[in-house]
Point group: C2
Chain length 260, copies 2
DNA sequence: TATTATTGTGTCAATGTAACACATATTTGT
DNA sequence: ACAAATATGTGTTACATTGACACAATAATA
């Protein structure tokens, strides 16, 4: 690995970014009826980290978040929203973050300045993003060795307070189900009614009546039924639908009343 | 005024607080059927500022926000919640904030260091607080000359991006009406049904049917009707109610379904 | 070709909502 | 002191929405 280049990068990190503030992003995808989140594997090969980074000195929060989202997924123009600022003074001192970093750069004396900088107190702005699972090409960053999806029901060991950030993100996601285009962002362009229902059931953590669900979804007039059906699945072929993006966003202005 | 002490304070501000991050608080009260917000008058005697400040190096965001809220209102244990981080690089460079500060401290050469520090880029975490109007004793800080209530419908000239912070706070307040104890926090301990209705009408910006409003509010079982009535008002004396705090918070767990 | 699992559509009772009427209490005006 | 005025307390009704369920249609499966 190009260690020299990395150290140059580390020096730039300090010079180019705001101190004391970072961004972490909970990137959610939906696949095989499971809600997944994109995580980075640390160099200790044990613990994992949320995608994140720092804010350029002339960059807005949203610009920084979009840049970081792109560099992990290769995607642009994605649903991305900040949901909470995490500012406990102890937050970066827990779950062996310091030990991890020191070990990681033990051999590089030139990295000491960076270590000191990054081990100081940071307040992080939590964002959450909703992506179409199949479109993501996970890419890790220079601090990590792997980037892959994890079932939110079965999270690995996470550094710092990232576990708690994910929990807050999930809570926000559920709360905003009726106020943000969550179905539109997480599902592929075309999908079946049962697939949409599974998404809602997964997010809400409960089963819904198939017929009442369909009646309500259709009543919002945000779905367009296509003439095609999805064959090759299990038994009777379901119709395909897609969101009418305009009607969807319009309907969300007032919120979809009471989708369970 | 004790200018010497002030400069010592200014030096401490830099030493004691995190750089690049601040807190601003939209403190709302409800009085005479109007939603009000507490603002500070700048030394230019023209522009106004949101209550706010910086975060101590070992202080959490919530601790800092509570400390700042207390120092403007004299109140503790108040509903206080962060709602958004404002991070546009230009946000503190607009509405003559720099000119204002430089003018303000033009005569104090010792304040130059502080000016430089505070004119750098800041990301601010926006909080909103809900207080019982009559309990507040507004107190200004060392940067300002007055602290008083303003009708949110009739805001004065605000520095920086504070106008936009207030607008976002109001939007959040309306969205959270069914999910946070907003009535409980803004109204006095005992109140009448019409008073509660006015609060909702003001926040929602529309009139509600008196009889349907009462039926719905009572259906939540979060109100306790007192045997006393409020005499001396206009015509027939209305009953007094108070919130059953326990039931209220419990009901908010799932949200009050659809209060208009 | 019959079976089976899944989807499409419909029904009905129970519940919740919007719109409205009338009686009652207290202040107001004379 | 008394009638008028005005706001509050309570109730009714038509209508819309919801939850629970039944049955027919379709395509894979055996």
């Amino acid at each position: 690995m190009a260690k020299d280049n990395e150290i140059i990068s580390l020096k730039n990190v300090i010079e180019d970014n705001l101190p004391s503030i970072s961004i972490d992003i909970a990137i959610f995808g939906f696949h095989e009826n499971h809600l997944r989140i994109l995580l980075l594997k640390n160099k200790d090969k044990e613990s994992w980290t949320l995608p994140g980074g720092f804010i350029g000195k002339e960059e807005s929060l949203e610009e920084a978040a979009n840049r970081l989202l792109f560099s992990r997924t290769g995607l642009n123009n994605i649903f991305l929203q900040q949901f909470h600022a995490f500012g406990d003074p102890e937050r970066t001192r827990i779950n062996k973050r310091a030990e991890l970093l020191k070990e990681q750069y033990a051999k590089d004396q030139y990295a000491q300045e960076f270590i000191e900088w990054v081990l100081g107190r940071f307040i992080t702005i939590g964002f959450y993003a909703l992506v179409e699972f199949t479109e993501v090409e996970p890419k890790h960053d220079i601090f990590t060795i792997e980037c892959r999806w994890h079932d939110v029901q079965d999270l690995p060991l996470l550094v710092s307070d990232h576990q708690s950030i994910i929990e807050t993100a999930l809570k926000t996601l559920r709360q905003q189900l009726n106020y943000q285009p969550i179905g539109l962002s997480l599902l592929p362009h075309e999908f079946t009614m049962p697939e949409l229902q599974r998404l809602y059931e997964t997010l809400l953590g409960k089963t819904l009546d198939r017929r009442n669900f369909q009646r309500k979804m259709l009543s919002y007039k945000i779905l367009e039924r296509l003439p095609t059906k999805r064959k090759g699945g299990a038994y009777k072929a379901p119709y395909l639908y897609r969101f009418d993006k305009e009607s969807y966003e319009e309907a969300l202005q007032n919120g979809l009343k009471d989708l369970w």
